[in-house]
């Protein structure tokens, strides 16, 4: 089956989606965090009536606004790209995925975009109270918008609360709350939004530090830093905690992703965690086979930590890539070849079901097949591997080779994961240092630290992108874990069409991204404006 697949099309479709998603994630996290910081500082202004706080709020709001529009634009493309580039996927998941998306549109997104207008244009047009409420609602709306799309993503990583319907050939929702409150979804939401908070805090501290370096806007900058550092420290702790829970979830639902994150070829008890490492021989990680061995040029290990991280116990077994592909009887791990065989049987059963329904819907055969799809044993033992079916081949050697194609790109996942974790811990340290020094009133004198703050801005963006690479590249080739691989999910169009649209989007995004950076830099250079207090309605 695999030989009939146009992998160029799949690669370009993935590239286009990744491009849009990554640009989206450049703009969105800042709005998630900055929204709440604006709401907080405006509340201080509302309570004290001190125009300095209004000035502060308005300045950061301006940066918020520029990002907001870009986030909205890239978000629209993402939403439609599910349909344009992943048509089969859209049908297969529409029944689950569609609902959160519709809620997002109807409820959260309208809230966000309605009140964002009041926030920008309403300063002298609506009462102070209504304006403050709008600022809060914009922040809340932005974060709830993020909730729904992350619920959808969580479901793709860990499909729960649904059942397969052979008549429509798709998964259908059976329990809305299971989908919404699944551990993966909740964790993903908190992890992503708190990252947004951390990012906004780092940006605010970085920009303010630039003012301190230039010896401008001293009071404004210090105030902004205090608010941001407190907000950032609390958020970064939540970020690390949810990161840890996230890893524990991955062990259960996506063991292959965990193995790739650690480049762990052979599983073991008391498995060590690679704190830092450089992989050797780039080719060996691409064409994996039964003889592949782990290959590090250099690594620092923490013995037993991976077992502890995964299961909360140093002694437990953590599965490696080869255990998962080849199976490991002593640990009760089924091989990928077996899963592919079972998936193939499930797919054949579905085809037979469709034929029987068409030819003789009253016959005994149809009734038997229908019963299979209602039989829990069949669904759990065979249908659970439905997505493996396209990798089936009659020749066992080819099948074995195909099984290794289910391994995600290792070096990209490995490096992204380690970069993300290192940066995560760095930011906690960063916020602590900034907070201590700012309270001792020494921060503005430490020139080196001001520079470090400034350099931290690109670092935090890199950290966020790395996180999504772990989540999305690490689960390849699955669009939906175990149920739908990307080879089936993709829209059947010519690869050249996707290449053209990819190029168009890339050119437009990059050009406008540069424009955005220039506008932001100009705004920052101009700085906050002191305005005469106008009497409000």
């Amino acid at each position: 089956m695999l030989e009939n697949i146009d992998f160029t099309l799949i690669d370009w479709s993935r590239a286009q989606f990744a491009l849009t998603a990554m640009f989206h994630w450049v703009f969105v996290p800042l709005t998630l965090g900055l929204g709440f910081m604006n709401a907080f500082t405006e509340t201080v202004y509302y309570k004290t009536g001190n125009p300095e706080w209004k000035k502060l709020t308005k300045f950061w709001m301006k940066l918020f606004g520029i990002n907001f529009a870009c986030g909205v634009a890239t978000g629209l493309i993402l939403e439609f790209e599910f349909g344009t580039n992943w048509a089969a996927y859209s049908w297969f998941v529409g029944d689950i995925f569609g609902a959160p998306l519709a809620i997002e549109g109807i409820f959260a997104f309208f809230m966000e975009s309605t009140f964002v207008a009041v926030m920008f244009f309403g300063w002298d047009k609506v009462s102070k109270k209504f304006h403050l409420a709008s600022t809060w609602l914009t922040a809340i709306g932005a974060n709830i918008s993020a909730l729904w799309i992350l619920v959808a993503n969580g479901w793709m990583q860990n499909p729960v609360g649904t059942a397969f319907n052979p008549d429509t050939a798709r998964n259908e929702m059976t329990n809305f709350w299971d989908v919404l409150l699944s551990g993966t979804a909740v964790n993903k939401f908190i992890h992503s939004t708190t990252f947004g908070f951390v990012l906004a805090a780092v940006v605010v501290i970085g920009v303010s530090s630039w003012y301190l370096l230039k010896k401008r806007e001293l009071l404004f900058a210090k105030r902004s830093i205090v608010v941001a550092a407190v907000f950032g420290l609390i958020s970064s702790i939540a970020l690390i905690v949810t990161g840890d829970t996230s890893a524990k979830n991955v062990v259960k639902t996506q063991p292959m992703k965990l193995a790739a994150m650690e480049a762990l070829y052979d599983g073991s008890e008391n498995a060590p965690l690679v704190a830092f490492g450089i992989l050797g021989g780039s080719e060996t990680h691409k064409n994996i086979n039964a003889n592949s061995r782990e290959n590090f040029v250099f690594k620092i290990e923490m013995p037993g930590m991976l077992s502890f991280l995964a299961h909360g116990d140093f002694k437990t077994f953590v599965a490696g890539i080869k255990d998962l592909v080849l199976g490991n009887e002593s640990q009760g791990i089924m091989s990928y070849s077996e899963k592919i065989r079972r998936g193939h049987i499930a797919a054949q059963t579905l085809v037979a079901y469709k034929d029987a329904k068409l030819n003789n819907p009253d016959g005994e055969e149809f009734r038997m097949l229908k019963a299979k799809f209602e039989d829990e044993t069949f669904m759990n033992d065979y249908f659970a591997y439905f997505g493996y079916a396209p990798y089936y081949d009659e020749n066992p050697d080819v099948l074995q080779q195909n099984a290794f194609k289910l391994v995600p790109p290792i070096s990209l996942t490995f490096y992204s994961f380690h970069l993300m974790v290192i940066l995560g811990f760095y930011f906690i340290l960063f916020f602590v240092v900034v907070l201590v020094l700012i309270f001792k009133n020494k921060y503005h004198n430490k020139c080196w630290l001001l520079w470090v703050s400034l350099i931290s801005i690109p670092l935090v963006y890199i950290g966020g992108q790395a996180g999504w690479i772990v989540a999305e590249v690490g689960r390849q080739p699955w669009a939906i874990q175990d149920l739908l691989p990307v080879v089936t999910a993709v829209s059947k169009i010519d690869a050249s069409s996707v290449m053209i649209t990819f190029t168009l989007f890339a050119v437009v995004f990059i050009a406008l991204f540069i424009a955005e950076i220039m506008i932001l830099l100009k705004q920052i250079k101009t700085g906050p404006k002191i305005e005469e207090e106008t009497s409000n309605v």
Partner: protein
């Protein structure tokens, strides 16, 4: 409460919601229409800034409605989403690109140091206005004219031409709707400018332009509608679910669904009213008299054409009279034309999906045509989403409140020229 409904009732409920969202979207696309007029109406930078800012304070609504329309369609009729978006790839890609340009156009146009200069971003807005209206209109027309696709037993769809949607733009009937939407949104934009820009020079140009846009709009609209009424439609046999071609299908749908007919005629009348009162500066009294006569005539006609019952007659008559008393004097043509647009498009989408009609037909393989029954989400999902839809009135209420709060005063030169804080201007 929604659990007691049948799957079919839920599918119909969601088709009504989708139709309503689509209708509101077409009305809100006056923003796009306005974007194609900035150079025609605005001869100086200040004038253009005024025009772009009255539109700019509304662009988010159009954009959000588009997002919601997409999301709601995905959620309620996912097979449409996968078939149309994955199939008519190029149509949707072009529309998407146009909308990206819009967002950046507004946000960056007036910002210092924006790399490409103000004019580039204004051209972005123009492109969005042109492509957005023509392509969306053309795409919507395929609900009546069909597309080349097939759907297999696994519900996987396949587009049958290598042009991936571009071939749809070669169909004259599709294009007639595309051009209609283009001129309609321009007409709406002109009426909107009259109600929200306080400037004599611009007002003079708007009134002149109204002739150049309203007349072509009416011509193209009539072309599309007459053609639609005369053409064969994609009918579904309710017993066998077999799809077949039926002469005068959409005309019959209107006649067989008197409510849709009333909504349609009311909408058309309101749009025409909005245009006429603005063009001829008709006073409120005269308008009242003329429209009363028209309404009574239409009703008499309706009684003659169909078995029209008297209760419905009196009911709708009362609604009309209520509407006439409810609206403010005739300076605000946009309210007539805007609400009329919503009603007309709503009725058109109703006759596309109801009364045993395929709303997304395939002319390559009739039996692959999508109906609201064979393309929808499951009973459980539609029920869950229907609860969410109860929030829609609240959403509309806060949108209305926020909209009013921001547009109590018309924009004028003074507001644009004295603004010292460029964050508050597009």
């Amino acid at each position: 409460m929604f659990e007691t409904l049948s799957h079919l009732a839920l599918q119909q409920y969601w088709w009504v919601l989708i139709s309503l969202l689509g209708a509101i979207l077409v009305f809100l696309m006056f923003v796009q229409g306005g974007q194609t007029l900035i150079y025609t109406l605005g001869k100086t930078e200040t004038e253009r800034t005024m025009l772009i800012n009255v539109l700019g304070r509304k662009w988010g609504f159009t954009f959000t409605t588009l997002v919601t329309f997409g999301g709601a369609f995905f959620a309620s009729f996912p097979l449409f989403y996968s078939t149309s978006f994955g199939g008519a790839y190029w149509v949707w890609m072009v529309i998407l690109l146009a909308f990206v340009l819009q967002a950046f156009g507004y946000e960056f146009r007036n910002k210092a140091n924006n790399l490409f200069g103000t004019r580039t971003y204004e051209i972005f807005l123009f492109i969005n206005g042109l492509i957005g209206t023509v392509f969306i209109g053309t795409a919507v027309a395929t609900f009546f004219t069909g597309s080349p696709f097939s759907v297999n037993t696994m519900n996987l769809s396949q587009w049958e031409t290598p042009w991936h949607g571009l071939e749809l733009a070669l169909n004259a009937h599709n294009l007639s709707l595309g051009v209609t939407v283009f001129f309609l949104t321009r007409t709406l934009a002109l009426l909107f400018f009259l109600s929200s820009v306080n400037d004599e020079v611009i007002e003079h140009r708007v009134r002149k332009q109204l002739w150049y846009n309203a007349v072509p709009f009416v011509v193209f609209f009539l072309t599309f509608v007459v053609w639609l009424m005369l053409r064969d439609g994609f009918a579904v046999n309710p017993d066998t679910t077999e799809v077949f071609m039926q002469p005068f299908k959409y005309f019959n749908n209107l006649i067989e669904m008197p409510l849709a007919l009333i909504i349609f005629l009311t909408g058309v009348l309101l749009v025409l009213c909005g245009i006429i009162i603005t063009l001829f500066k008709i006073s409120f009294k005269k308008l009242w008299l003329i429209s009363s006569i028209i309404i009574i005539l239409v009703h008499v006609l309706l009684i003659l054409v169909s078995k029209y019952d008297t209760k419905l007659f009196l009911g709708t008559l009362l609604v009309y009279m209520g509407l006439q008393f409810g609206v403010k004097p005739a300076t605000k043509g946009i309210w007539f034309a805007g609400s009329g647009t919503i009603l007309t498009v709503f009725a058109l989408l109703l006759i596309a999906g109801f009364n045993n009609t395929s709303y997304y037909p395939s002319y390559c393989d009739l039996q692959s045509s999508l109906t609201i029954q064979n393309s929808s989400s499951s009973y459980f999902t539609l029920t869950a989403m229907s609860y969410v839809s109860l929030f829609i009135p609240f959403v509309l209420a806060y949108i209305w409140y926020a909209w009013r709060a921001l547009t109590r005063k018309k924009i004028d030169r003074a507001e644009v020229e004295t603004d010292e804080n460029d964050a508050e201007l597009y």
